[in-house]
């Protein structure tokens, strides 16, 4: 005990000698460094605001008092579907058959393939994915919906097997699966909604197909968009439809072969509220006079014999990738018009993953047939990385024209350590505490080495000069 006390006294002795002197110094400076680190961390966290400290601590050290999230299972949302995927062949064409468990609490299903939407509004608990090639492996997830919520299944994968005989060329398909909240798979009758900007959902068996949309009626629109890698597409008009009846045509075009395309159509009406009164009577009369039209997905009304200009936009950045703080290069073209040139006011909208408009700008241009208009947009550094869409809109003789193209926005990396290892500003901010700790650790190691070198140099009896080299015969 006495020996321990003596050692402790010697350890904490203020004397600058003794075997523990260096160790005491290290502990002292470590303590100061830790204190500085904590003050720095808290200062940076406070300056960043927005609950940064709380989120960071929560991430690293578990729940913070007062931020407990309680999850309750309320009766109502559908049970979790159990999904199975089987590779099959039919008529020498391979496909993946999906089936899952379902019950009365499930109204409809959405299916995702490889993380992207494949089809929406399925009412049966089976689906055949025919847009596959032999030896491909895909992972699927089914989400069941009802009025009280949604539940997703676990992911299930399947690999496409080859069929014995070469498969027939697959005919292009284009199906409208959902109109606003109405699933069209088992729907019959007239489609009508009060929503003046309803969303149309559909699918095609051509990945990245060009989707050409024409709407005629009380509001005319000609739009071009694109299906995703699973052939899934959805479209919500940028302007509100006028009240009344409209006809919607959608044509999916193979991006590699413009002659491969398929059209689907449906008729729908935009009605006023129930308190519309006379207008309701007038609209009912109008509906009765209309010829019976296709409201079933897959059937097609004759495409109108009109010639509308075709507006298109293309992202020219390499790989469709843009970086924050850099520019987005675009080319906009208009084709199929009779005039020598068309003057138009273009609206450029940059839309994020959530559908919100991140950037809006205008340009007065003159279109000449087939000649692209080049435009460069500066992307602010503060924009969040992710999937974006550039939407270009204009009007032509009362018709609304729009076109869009998707691209990926990535952060400029802060560090490029070589060999493809990059660290972005976001990654640094997410792991700020660890970055500071590691930097401090490296600094401490450097200071220890330097301190040790200084300490050993103090043991020198004399300072070496060049005369000694001569005396020691280092110089001949």
């Amino acid at each position: 005990m006495k020996k321990t006390v003596k050692m402790a006294k010697h350890f904490f002795s203020p004397q600058k000698v003794g075997r523990f002197f260096l160790f005491r110094r290290i502990v002292k400076y470590l303590g100061i460094a830790t204190g500085v680190l904590v003050v720095l961390y808290v200062t940076v966290g406070i300056s960043l605001g927005n609950g940064f400290l709380k989120n960071d601590l929560q991430k690293k050290y578990g729940r913070v008092a007062g931020a407990t999230t309680l999850i309750m299972q309320i009766l109502g949302p559908p049970n979790k579907p159990i999904l199975s995927v089987f590779p099959l062949c039919q008529n020498n064409s391979p496909y993946l058959a999906l089936s899952w468990t379902s019950d009365d609490q499930m109204d409809y299903f959405d299916i995702e393939r490889d993380g992207s939407p494949l089809v929406s509004g399925i009412v049966e608990n089976i689906y055949h994915d025919e847009a596959v090639l032999t030896s491909e492996t895909h992972s699927y997830k089914v989400t069941a919906f009802n009025s009280l919520g949604q539940t997703a299944s676990d992911e299930a994968s399947g690999t496409v097997l080859g069929c014995e005989l070469p498969p027939k060329p697959i005919d292009p398909t284009c199906v409208i699966t959902r109109f606003h909240k109405t699933n069209l798979f088992d729907f019959s009758g007239e489609l009508s909604t009060k929503e003046r900007q309803p969303t149309f959902y559909g699918t095609t068996n051509m990945p990245h197909a060009k989707i050409e949309i024409i709407v005629l009626g009380k509001t005319d629109m000609i739009v071009e968009t694109q299906a995703n890698e699973n052939g899934y597409w959805e479209w919500r008009p940028e302007i509100r439809f006028n009240y009344g009846d409209h006809t919607f045509w959608v044509t999916a075009v193979d991006p590699e072969n413009g002659l491969r395309n398929k059209t689907a159509s449906l008729k729908f009406g935009i009605s006023r509220d129930e308190a519309g009164g006379e207008n309701k009577k007038e609209e009912k009369k109008k509906k009765e006079n209309l010829p019976s039209g296709a409201t079933v997905p897959g059937a097609s009304l004759p495409v109108p014999g009109i010639s509308w200009p075709n507006l298109s936009v293309e992202v020219k950045n390499w790989g469709n990738i843009a970086y924050t703080g850099k520019t987005l290069s675009l080319e906009t073209k208009m084709k199929n018009f009779d005039e020598k040139f068309i003057k138009a006011k273009l609206t450029y909208l940059l839309i994020d993953e959530d559908g919100k408009i991140a950037l809006e700008t205008y340009d007065d241009v003159s279109f000449f047939e087939g000649i692209p208009i080049k435009k460069t947009l500066s992307i602010p550094s503060a924009f969040k990385a992710g999937k974006y869409k550039i939407l270009v809109e204009t009007t032509y003789k009362g018709a609304f024209l729009s076109a869009d193209n998707s691209f990926l926005l990535e952060e400029i990396p802060l560090f490029n350590l070589g060999g493809g290892v990059v660290i972005t500003v976001g990654q640094v901010m997410d792991n700020l505490l660890w970055v500071i700790l590691w930097l401090l650790l490296l600094l401490i190691i450097f200071l220890i080495l330097l301190g040790n070198e200084y300490r050993t140099s103090r043991y020198a009896i004399i300072q070496v000069t060049e005369e000694m080299f001569r005396d020691k015969k280092f110089i001949s």
Binding site: F415, G418, G419, S457, V464, T465, E466, I475
Partner: protein, 112 residues
Amino acid sequence: MMIFETINFSLIINSLVIAVSILSIVFSFGVVWRTEKELDISYKFFLGAIIVFTLEEFLNFFSLAEKPVFVIVGLFLKLFFSVLFLAGIFTARDLIRKMDGEKQSFENQGDV
């Protein structure tokens, strides 16, 4: 295998360069603290050169190094490294010439 080697080899070499440079700085300090006169001055130049070299290597880790202003800074750092290294070599050569009598005999003969 080739891809694995490329990815890790570049990162390992870059990391080793930084680590070795830092050790060189520490040991150069050690020599500076242990020497005097012209030997001390020559090693101070070497120390300055290795510090500038290490800073330039750090700068290359930042993607911002692609910006024109940082490219110019990097070029000047390279230049300072070269100049300081040359100064260190020159000073060491000068003291060796004095030690081996070469410079004195030149001065006696009237050469500079």
